[in-house]
Amino acid sequence: MLAESRITAPGQDPMSAPRDALTVFTPLPPEQNGIADYAALLLAALAAHYDCAAACEDWLAEAPAGIPVIDPALAHRHLAPGGRVLHQLGNNPGHGFVLRALRQHPGVTTLHDPGLLHLHETAGEGVAAILAGMADTHPALAPYARHLRDHGLSSRANHLLFDLAGETLARSRAVVVHSHFAAARLRALHGAARTEHVAVVMHPLPPGSMPERAEARARLGIAADVFLVLTAGFATAAKRFDWLIEALEQAIAAGAELRWIHAGAERAEEFALSARIAERPALAGRAQVTGWLAEAALTDHIAAADVLVNLRFPSAGESSGTLARGFAAGVCCIVSDTAGYAELPREAVLHIPLAGATPALAAALGALARDPALARAIGAAGRRFALREMALPAVAEAYRAVIEEARERTVAASPAGDVALRVLEAGPGLSAAAVEAALAGATGPCRLFLAAPDLGALAVLTLDRPALLKAVLPPWAGLRAVRVQAPPAHPGLLLDLDLPWRP
């Protein structure tokens, strides 16, 4: 016999007292994504406060026990009006469905990386949406937006100059970031009024105990007396492996005996890690890149380390799950003295200045390799700090406070269902300012009718002003189709536009 089952709202247990439901839109393991791991951790802790459901694009994703995974495209059928929603948003294509969901289901959004340009570029958002986000920043940066609009040029600098977080700020009841630096950066770029709902909640420690160093080393086949330097996660350019490789070479040249493991995947298009290591004879036999690791193996590597190097430059205020694991394991953590990492207590980590980073890092690694007890002392201090400030129940409680406090906050409206029609006289004085004014307030599909007295006048106008539409349409307006409307209808140009959200 088949078990009879009724389709009920996610998270509902008819046998228990009703609790408030919370739907969390997020990637989850086994997706190879630090935010997926973070979300699994957080969901388990939030279950102490709410009946949680996880809306995940991977319907077979692994949520903590007792938390149902639902299809995000159908989550609206189970959400009560005004129901509690949490979005976990990061800067990679695996979060495209979260970005789309936050437009339909306003809630609290955790902005793991305040820069969202890579997400917009890779999740099918389109150039128009990117240009709209670029328009939502300082006018001095307009030339970079024009490079993209007019020539399709987008440099790596754009990822620092344009965070594209304006829409997320506007559509969220509250925004959670993991450092005061990230909050300040948002405030600097978007103004105090549009960021007054930004809250700082620290990245939590992983629950449970980390493996003992000796056990982890035994599993990994690393001898007890090896001084192990570890890096972890995607090997991005911002993690400054160029500095680390140079520093390791200097430390080894100065007599340090050490081994380096990168416990994570390469991102060769950003930084060809293995190739760069191979160029350094001093690192031969001392350096290893594991590729992506599952949670248990990653944890073992961190627990086995003497030093966890977690450099960043530039940093947009992103958080680091690796660092949290390092704290939990009591491993000595070395970070860049920048952004959110600069907020960590001086006694809890070793800060490496941005200026002169390589010699400073080489000196630190050499000193720690000579005196591993010093590394253990710093690691113990870091663990004490983390247990005090980053314990998972405290983080879940902080989330609960943000979610409850934000419930009544209004957000920007989502695009209207009807296609808006705006009409403008297409005379000789037709200007970009007039078009922008005519399109004010419209979002999503929109039609702009440029009305002419007759077709002859329209022909004269377009002949007199070559590239008329390019000149008068704002850069964020996506032009989908152009039609000449002839009598008996009113003559003119009918433009089908796609207008992204903008402030």
């Binding site: 088949l2 078990a3 009879e4 089952s5 009724r6 389709i7 009920t8 996610p10 694009e57 319907w59 077979l60 149902p68 995974v69 639902i70 299809d71 995000p72 495209a73 159908l74 989550a75 609206h76 059928r77 189970h78 789309r100 437009r103 339909q104 289901h105 989502s414 695009p415 269902g417 009807d418």
Partner: protein
């Protein structure tokens, strides 16, 4: 608008009375004939009136490669105009609407309209339908271009006669040249139906994920059966986005997946299949 309880009966009646009719079920979001009328084109007459998320969801589906009605202005306009190519060359065209308010344009284009409510436009013939199995009795209106009401009334009467079994009650009455009534009460609904997955609105979400739109089913217990090719690993099944318990067994005909459920919502039910499996056949029944 709630699911149409008598949709199985109504669909059987219309298939019998109008064997060559092409059906556009534009009442998908409010309980039309889908899935009881195989081959019907599905859609929504007023997608702008749907909540954003529901509109986004239905906008993802494709039926025979095309967007659902209501989501492609060019095709929608061709259907409304009665363009032969858009209707597959069918002579008789039936449009199912939740509300008759917008029926005028369809009738002007030569189509019949089946509406669940709202005022009928002026200048058309009308057959009032009362259907029940035996309860609830549901009232609908068939609206036709002028002069076609009498013939349809006769066709419905003949169809009921052909379908009728013990305990059926049917009656047709011409009230005026433009207005008739037709009543059909059946002791039970012919509720089980075999569905052709390739004909159904589908959303191929990505590798190993498929959504199929099952339509609005009355909120009572149902059993879903899906058959897959031999050797197919059992897929996970979701209904309205929620994982659903299912039993599977392999036999000579392939893998059979069965699930029992009671739809809770009035919106069109969505079947999700997670895994590398596309069903060869689907069936819904009590």
């Amino acid at each position: 608008m709630a699911a149409l309880s008598t949709a199985p009966l109504l669909a059987a009646l219309l298939r019998q009375a109008l064997p060559a009719v092409a059906v556009l079920d534009a009442a998908l979001a409010g309980g039309g004939l889908h899935p009881w009328f195989p081959g019907a084109r599905c859609g929504v007459a007023a997608p702008a009136a749907l909540p954003d998320a529901e509109r986004a969801l239905l906008g993802r589906f494709r039926q025979r490669g095309a967007a659902l009605f209501g989501f492609d202005p060019a095709v929608d306009a061709a259907l409304l105009a009665g363009a032969a190519a858009a209707w597959g060359g069918a002579g008789d065209r039936l449009v199912v609407l939740g509300d008759a308010t917008d029926a005028g344009a369809w009738i002007a284009g030569g189509a019949m309209v089946l509406a669940r409510g709202g005022p009928a436009p002026a200048g058309c013939d009308q057959v009032m339908l009362l259907l029940g199995a035996p309860t609830p009795v549901e009232r609908l209106a068939l609206l036709l271009p002028e002069g076609r009401g009498a013939a349809l009334l006769a066709a419905l009467e003949a169809a009921a006669g052909a379908l009728a079994g013990p305990g059926w009650q049917a009656g047709a009455r011409a009230i005026s040249p433009r207005l008739g009534t037709f009543t059909l009460l059946a002791p039970a609904l012919p509720a089980a139906i075999a569905l052709a997955p390739e004909e159904m609105p589908r959303d191929e979400v990505g590798p190993g994920r498929l959504r199929l739109l099952l339509g609005c089913l009355p909120p009572r217990p149902w059993r879903l059966r899906a058959r897959f090719a031999p050797g197919t690993p059992p897929p996970r099944l979701l209904l309205d986005g929620v994982h659903q318990a299912a039993r599977h067994q392999a036999d000579a005909g392939g893998l059979l997946l069965e699930a029992s459920f009671t739809p809770a919502a009035d919106s069109p039910l969505v079947l999700g299949l997670a895994g590398q499996a596309v069903p060869l056949a689907l069936g819904i029944g009590p």
